[in-house]
Subunit: 188 residues, 2 copies
């Protein structure tokens, strides 16, 4: 039991480590608090253009609204028959991976009491269109390999960074096969 | 060899099917045209906040710039120790999946000569925080399962939709394990 006077929150890398440790203790005490469900709704407009909207999620046994809805547009560049009004979904996938590995590095290093100052990174992945276009059934439709380059300033070694970023939930989702259940409802 | 007078492009679902068929023939004739590389750069700001920027990609044997750079922000909601200034990366991952399955449906149905009019969808995935927080090493850090619900109006059956959306490159990237190579450079 802390008195108000004794409570001083520790912030490292912009992460409130005191609250992070409290969260870990809370989830340890009641694992249901750690059950999260994330959600997106998508509306197609035309051709390669559609919009994903994110308004709320479930966590700590409750639905939690975001401060405001977030919209992520999708389109295709001209060469892939779109109007280039947004990143295409395989680019958005790399953005998700980059955001997640970066945040994971900030949080995990903060949790270990280590400061990072500058973090930048580059992501590149290969897709062979023969897969999606149905030319060769033996060719993958999605990414074959993704290459990641991190540049980091701070109180961490290269090996520590490499190990920390592997805790990223998006990284973990990509390196394992995920079950995706598809329901379809025909309307009209 | 078409004369100008005979050239009439077929557009279905907003997709130029004539150009799609030409693309398929071009890639069949020279598979290197179908080698694409997609790229993202990420810059960390603080805590859970970072930005991914997408400016160009490689395809048809050339670097191709987007019409404008696209920026996808990442942040975490308050309960996950952020300021909620953007979707979090696992939400962005679902947005990428939703965009890709939707575009795939529009393109594949167009390629089959089938019209769709309204397409909307909902995506939900489960994450157990005990994984990321390091409480239980046997718990996955990323998604355990993703559920997808499509509502479609148009000239397609429910089974056709289910089969078409599985051609999505992001779907294919998630249901298979992907190799991710990580390089780290310590700067300063």
């Amino acid at each position: 039991m802390n008195t108000t006077a004794n409570t001083q929150e520790q912030i490292i890398n912009g992460v409130n480590v005191t609250r992070m440790m409290e969260t870990i203790e809370a989830v340890k005490g009641d694992p249901e608090i750690g059950d999260f469900k994330f959600r997106v709704k998508n509306t197609w407009q035309k051709g390669g253009y559609n919009e994903a909207t994110i308004t709320d999620f479930y966590g700590a046994k409750d639905n939690i609204p975001h401060e405001q809805p977030f919209v992520i547009k999708a389109d295709e560049p001209d060469i892939l028959l779109g109007k280039d009004q947004g990143p295409n979904p395989v680019e958005t996938l790399l953005a998700a991976l980059s955001g997640c590995m970066t945040t994971t590095l900030a949080y995990k290093s903060a949790g270990a009491g280590k400061t990072v100052s500058d973090v930048s990174s580059e992501f590149e992945g290969d897709i062979d269109l023969q897969g999606f276009l149905g030319i060769r059934p033996d060719v993958n439709k999605g990414y074959n390999e993704i290459r990641v380059k991190f540049k980091v300033k701070g109180d961490v070694t290269e090996d520590e960074v490499r190990e920390m970023v592997k805790n990223s939930p998006v990284y973990d989702t990509l390196v394992r096969p995920i079950a995706i259940r598809i329901d379809v409802e025909k309307a009209g």
